[in-house]
Symmetry: C2
Subunit: 304 residues, 2 copies
């Protein structure tokens, strides 16, 4: 099944007429993973026609307004529609304080369990077929980059080989799962008919950050690297001062990490036309694109 990435907000700091502030979601099977929740995210969800009733896990990169000011509205809207299933949110240490203090001041009582967890480097949560990892990014305050990576999938079963070896169909399922079978006292190893386990998909979200060595390892061989590109090269000193990346720096990381596709986001509102960012990144790394609000990207499973 396809994984769908939907960009809900792609502007840094301030919204523009075309771009909302940061938020991007990854839809995988019946689950939604949301990375950052800038102001207006719930409205963007409506525009993208994404229901908010399904299982949702939120990952906050850091506690700057343009990454979190949509969170209180989302929490409250879930309340208004009478959500029952839990909502889990990961983020920096002070996220709990931000949410709980506001709930206290505004006297918000939830209809559903809200679970807030501290992010840390390493695996922070996992599902049946995926893990979510975090690393610290480099952005003045406590901040994280996140990665969703699918677990290894079973190798591909080769029915022709199975027929050639005259393996009865009733044994196929066992072999498909990677286990050996015994037929007429002869052991048949799965590897004879099934290719080696296949890599799942890997999607990385940088949040706000200076370029780091850590990110190159973290994003290694990712299918998609969603990386901030707040500035162009002329603004490099400013990028450095405010702990952001230029488009070129993001491209250098993508190249060294050998990712399939680099998607630049979190562009400063000064770039009404972001082609300078595209150009500077493209010089370093060809598989690059600039995110737009409501852009959808499908990440398919490799066939082999």
């Amino acid at each position: 099944m396809s994984i769908e990435i939907v960009f809900l907000g792609t502007s840094a700091g301030l919204p523009t007429e075309e771009r909302n502030v940061s938020s991007v979601i990854v839809r995988r099977e019946s689950e939604i993973f949301m990375f950052d929740v800038g102001e207006g995210t719930q409205k963007q969800l409506i525009k993208a026609n994404i229901g908010i009733k399904q299982k949702l896990t939120i990952f906050i990169s850091h506690l700057h307004g343009d990454h979190i000011f949509g969170l209180l509205g989302l929490i409250q809207s879930y309340n208004l529609i009478g959500r029952k299933i839990p909502l889990e949110i990961f983020g920096p240490k002070d996220l709990k304080k931000f949410i709980y203090e506001n709930m206290k001041i505004l006297n918000i009582n939830l209809t559903y369990p809200l679970i807030i967890r501290n992010s840390k480097q390493g695996i922070i949560t996992e599902g049946k077929n995926y893990t979510i990892k975090a690393i610290e990014s480099d952005h003045r305050i406590e901040s994280y980059s996140y990665c969703i990576e699918e677990k290894l999938r079973p190798g591909k079963f080769n029915p022709e080989k199975a027929n050639k070896l005259e393996i009865p169909i009733k044994f196929w399922k066992t072999l498909k799962s990677g286990f050996p079978v015994t037929i007429n006292k002869k052991n048949i190893d799965a590897s004879l008919i099934v290719s080696p386990p296949r890599k799942g998909r890997k999607i990385v979200y940088s949040g706000d950050t200076k370029p780091t060595e850590r990110m190159m390892t973290f994003a290694k061989n990712a299918d998609i690297l969603i990386h901030e590109a707040t500035y162009d090269e002329k603004m490099r000193a400013r990028a450095d001062k405010y702990f952001h990346s230029t488009a070129r720096q993001a491209a250098e990381i993508a190249k060294k990490a050998n990712v399939q596709l680099l998607v630049l986001t979190h562009m400063s509102p000064r770039y009404k036309d972001p082609s300078i960012l595209y150009k500077e990144a493209y010089e370093i790394f060809k598989n690059v694109m600039i995110a737009e609000d409501l852009l959808k990207i499908n990440v398919n499973l490799s066939k082999d």
Copy 2:
């Protein structure tokens, strides 16, 4: 000069594809008065092409999320663009706590003075030519309705009468200001040539509220009454339970208050087509309209 009213958000509780949550502004000369700041208000300002650098005063009706979750983003955005002139915000007692606690948790230092004041019944602020008044509305928690009312304007000068009475032009200015003049030892009272002082414009914003007697007095003879109309008559019990008004109740108030124009806003998201609300209000009061996001209404000075 015309006063311009711009509706930035007209939906109750949750945003919809067409409607943002509550906010409406009144532009008068070089000042902006903003009533409530729902999530996404700064984006709506951009869409309405309204600069946010001019003098702005904000009035919060009550501390429910759909009326205030755009406030932190607006405060922070002013910071990012380096605002220097003060921002004044009026609202219920806990508004200070809401803003200051968030600034503390998120470590926000402002580039401009932020003045937060408690609303109370009566005149809460005034400018050279207007006053802003508040009354308590009836909505479970501390909450206010607001009124902006221009001070009396000098009466209309009648040049034909002045000529008939052979009053030299040099005396006209004094008479226009309402003062008497003495010509050939004869006192000429201004009222002979100048009509009585004229009423300024009056605009009332209800915020969320049950219909109240207080509002009828407060909105008396207003040019525009912006009143919430969360529900239709079939939902009257629900309106009552949650301290809201039906469209018909809003119309009854408009009629008794003898307003020029009633504008209904804060419609429940269940009304994709709000014509039932229009119909029920129209049966009671003909001069009614339903607000839409980005609707602009000009309120002109009367000519007489």
